[in-house]
């Protein structure tokens, strides 16, 4: 059936069965490929998008639950001030290795900055613990969040 969802500021129709996770509606239905499939059970965070500003695991959110919620993906987050800052810090510090988890990391990090402009280490641990980086770029993820939030970066 056809669901109308708002993605990155644009209202779009997507034709999928009820129960289809938002992730697959985005990827296969709308060709929005930034959110990634990693585990399918909300454990790894690679699929993280924002719904009404909150970080959400799109692999575990059925399409019908999105409703009028405003979905923002990695493709749209750069249009926000914090998203842009996070992306810039990610590039400057060369955070990524394989990069597959990084869309999810960036979505979680941006949500963190939106809620907590100067996150301490404990804030970072809490906000980012749902996002696995198999390459374990955690040292640089932490540094990039600090840099993007204008805090001192330890090497």
């Amino acid at each position: 059936m056809v669901f109308k969802i708002n993605v990155n500021g644009k209202s779009q129709n997507v034709d999928v069965e009820e129960g289809t996770p938002l992730l697959w509606a985005l990827r296969d239905g709308l060709g929005i490929l930034g959110p990634k499939f990693g585990c399918g059970v909300g454990q790894c965070g690679a699929c993280t998008v924002h719904v009404d500003g909150q970080p959400v695991r799109s692999c575990s959110l059925p399409i019908e639950a999105v409703g009028a919620g405003k979905v923002v993906t990695i493709e749209g987050i750069g249009a926000t001030a914090n998203g842009k800052k996070i992306q810039a810090a990610w590039t400057e510090l060369d955070v990524a290795q394989c990069g597959y988890c990084q869309p999810g990391q960036i979505m979680s990090a941006t949500a963190l900055l939106n809620a907590t402009p100067k996150p301490a280490d404990a804030d970072i641990d809490a906000a980012m613990s749902g996002n696995i980086c198999r390459c374990a770029t955690y040292v640089r993820i932490r540094a990039a969040i600090k840099q993007a939030s204008g805090q001192k970066v330890e090497a």
Binding site: E17, R27, L33, V41, A46, W90, A96, Q97, C98, Q102
Partner: protein, 729 residues
């Protein structure tokens, strides 16, 4: 499976032949393939092309799996080509061994294999540009200089961009790669600088760079169910039920073969979307045929290992001196049994591949570390001429050795051909964890002796590994030269093998990732038995010599290892830091993949047994040049955390011939809160540069376990670390 280059001998063979296989040939393929290049683009060789507006494109020949190769290999060429890195765009090569020689991501081999050859490719391109300038200006070549993509003739004041000379340069003969002059390292402007990886902007904005992002017109989506018991055949499946699910176009049984790294039996579902296929597979109600591997289990392996340890070994792999006499001469002896489990790669991008079969030709888009064996496997399995198969290499969402196998590639090809449409096959996480080529487990029954001076007088290891017909299973081997062989006068390595039907294969720093845990932990036990400082004890064990064995072959540069042991200890403040109760420091070192690494871990063990890694210090000697510190340091930090992650929680249990763990709930990977700072120090020595994808991993687990011992007095002899046993309340 074909993973030979991760084992010592074949790696050396590659080193010997690598340059000939790829680079030297390139100078004769100047014309190259011009079909894809814009008309204005001039191609100097298979790697370097440029446009009149001085934009340079450099091809990266190898698969990008997160090791940063798409940045670092072109950096090597760009340095000698003498252009501004900002001018350069890098381009991923297709699978094309006729042009590029062997293309793979494995064994941390890209740097040692290409360091010399790709500098020469760049220098040859520069020589052609300079020759074009000299001809244009009618001046001697020797009077022309270059900088940042511009040629200068000082005497006449003439200058010209590379781009303006490119069309002419492309018509000139390529110089002899063997004699083309190379820069002095002090003049490097690109190598050694922190260069963010070239795909960085695309990665942070969500560009579709990965295999799983491939979209082909008319593409369908597939799932493939294989038996939980490795290699079991399909007895029956309710194909009609799956086909009744909306969107499903095909559901069929694939007969498959018996080779575990090839096309195995299973059931394919092909649908309009992946989710439809995924839901439909739940309806298949597959019954699997009986298979002998179903009798195997981790519990049974453990029992077999214990029994084998008490019997005479299958064979003795090494026997130096007289171990019995060495034990007698010892003032203290130690016996211990070590073991480590099967573990999975768990690359975050699940295995996937897209294939399109049309008019007898097959086009494949694959996130693979090892494209050519994949093409050959597909050709053989589908009965095709390899020349009819074209292969595009996509970025890989992690490799860690998993994508050296090409099982998912042959599955996608088979399904696409049968479905008669382009197909993207995507595995679930459960498919991935339960159908891996696992890092094999292993058991070491050790005894050792130390004398009053703190010297190791004897070492005996009865290694119980996995293998069939007297041969090691893939990546289950141990070299006869594995440290501390050759450093202990009375040394014996006995071997027994447990047959297994579980597929195994190389995982980042194969062999080393487990052996280092055993050797460096037991060395620590001997150090404590001798009442010696663990650093001092190790330095004494390494001796006073420089090279042990033959350089470039089995050689072990003891002096380089002593250098990193001392540096790691110094940076960590070893022996100088007063640590609180429950906190300890441990050290370990390991030589693998041509790199010398020593690491100190500081860890704190809480009363409930919880282990927190406070910090890691790494000292690394990979020669005289770090190609790209941005990627290099990232690799080292990631490798260390990868090793710690495995030691702290990873375990694949085999029950009834199948892997139990299926997702990140029961197969935990390290998360950010558990990731300590990792301080990286490179010890620059006058040796050829070598790779950084793997060798930082092996010392991390034993350094952690040795830190836990320092903190608690409790010795970890089995992985993953059982925190229950570390409880002090």
């Amino acid at each position: 499976m074909a993973d030979g280059f991760t084992e010592g001998a074949s790696r050396r063979d590659l080193l010997k032949t690598g340059a000939l296989a790829g680079g030297l040939m390139l100078s004769f393929s100047v014309a190259g393939k011009t079909d894809a290049a814009p008309a204005a683009e001039a191609k100097l060789n298979a790697y370097v092309s440029l446009t009149p507006d001085n934009k340079v494109t450099i091809v990266s020949k190898n698969p990008e799996i997160g090791q940063g190769i798409k940045t670092s290999l072109p950096m090597i060429i760009a340095e000698e080509f003498d252009v501004d890195w900002a001018q350069v765009t890098t381009k991923q090569a297709d699978g094309d061994p006729a042009t590029y020689g062997r293309q793979f991501a494995g064994g941390s081999m890209a740097t040692p294999l290409h360091w010399d050859e790709l500098r020469r490719v760049g220098a040859a391109g520069r020589a052609m540009i300079v020759a074009a300038a000299a001809q244009t200006w009618n001046v001697p070549v020797a009077e022309c200089t270059t900088a940042l993509g511009v040629v200068y003739h000082k005497a006449s004041g003439k200058k010209a961009t590379y781009g303006s000379l490119a069309a002419k340069a492309a018509t000139l003969p390529a110089p002899d790669l063997k004699t083309v002059p190379l820069k002095d390292a002090k003049d490097y402007k690109i190598l050694g600088r922190f260069m963010p990886q070239v795909d960085s902007a695309g990665l942070v904005t969500g560009k579709p760079l990965f295999g799983i992002d491939v979209v082909v017109p008319g593409m369908l989506y597939a799932t493939f169910d294989k038996a939980p018991v490795f290699g079991a055949k399909v007895a029956s499946a309710d194909l009609a039920a799956a086909k009744a699910v909306k969107g499903v176009r095909h559901a069929f049984i694939v007969e498959g073969g018996t080779e575990l790294s090839g096309l195995l039996p299973g059931v394919a579902v092909v649908a309009d979307s992946w989710w439809q296929a995924h839901k439909a597979r739940e309806k298949l109600n597959i019954q699997w045929a009986e298979h002998p591997t179903s009798k195997q289990s981790t519990t049974d392996y453990d029992a077999q290992a214990l029994a084998l340890s008490k019997a005479a070994p299958l064979r003795t792999e090494r026997n130096d001196g007289d171990v019995a006499a060495g034990m007698k001469a010892a003032s203290k002896t130690v016996e211990a049994a070590y073991s480590y489990p099967f573990i999975a790669h768990a690359a975050l991008e699940p295995m996937n591949c897209t294939a399109a079969f049309k008019d007898g030709k097959l086009e494949i888009w694959a996130p693979t570390q090892n494209p050519e064996p994949g093409r050959q496997l597909v050709a053989k399995t589908l009965g095709m001429d390899p020349a009819a198969i074209s292969l595009h290499m996509t970025r890989c969402g992690g490799g860690f050795g998993r994508r050296l196998a090409n099982d998912y590639m042959v599955e996608a090809a088979w399904i696409a051909k049968q479905a008669g449409a382009p197909v993207k096959l995507v595995w679930s996480r459960e498919d991935d964890l339960r159908h891996d080529f696992y890092r094999p487990g292993g058991y070491h029954f050790l005894s050792g002796g130390v004398d009053a001076s703190g010297a190791v007088t004897a070492w005996r290891d009865h290694f119980v590994s996995f293998g069939n017909d007297g041969k090691f299973a893939s990546s289950a081997g141990m070299s006869q030269n594995e440290f501390p062989a050759r450093f202990v006068p009375n040394f014996r390595y006995d071997l027994s093998l447990i047959p297994t039907g579980v597929p195994t294969g190389p995982l980042r720093a194969p062999g080393s990732n487990a052996l280092s845990f055993v050797m460096q932990s037991f060395i620590d036990e001997l150090a404590h038995a001798a009442g010696a400082d663990p650093v001092a004890f190790r330095l004494k064990l390494l001796g006073d010599g420089a090279m042990v064995g033959t350089p470039g072959q089995s050689g072990y540069a003891a002096d380089r290892m002593r250098g990193v042991v001392k540096l790691a200890a110094e940076k960590a403040g070893w022996g100088k830091t007063k640590l609180p109760k429950g906190t300890g420091m441990g050290i370990a070192f390991h030589f693998s993949h041509m790199g010398y690494f020593a690491e100190v871990v500081q860890a704190t063990v809480a009363a409930d047994g919880a282990v927190k890694v406070d910090k890691v210090w790494v000292a690394a000697d990979v020669g005289r040049q770090i190609i790209n510190p941005a990627g290099g340091i990232n690799q080292v930090q990631g490798s260390v955390l990868d090793g710690l992650s495995a030691a702290l929680g990873q375990l694949i249990t085999i029950e009834n011939g199948a892997a139990v763990q299926g997702n990140f709930g029961d197969y935990p990977l390290m998360r950010i809160a558990d990731a300590p700072p990792v301080e990286v120090h490179f010890l620059i020595t006058d040796n050829p540069p070598t790779g950084l994808g793997e060798p930082a991993l092996p010392p991390a687990p034993p350094a952690l376990c040795n830190a836990i011992f320092a903190a608690t007095g409790k010795r970890i002899r089995s992985l993953p670390i059982n925190t229950e046993a570390l409880k002090s309340v």
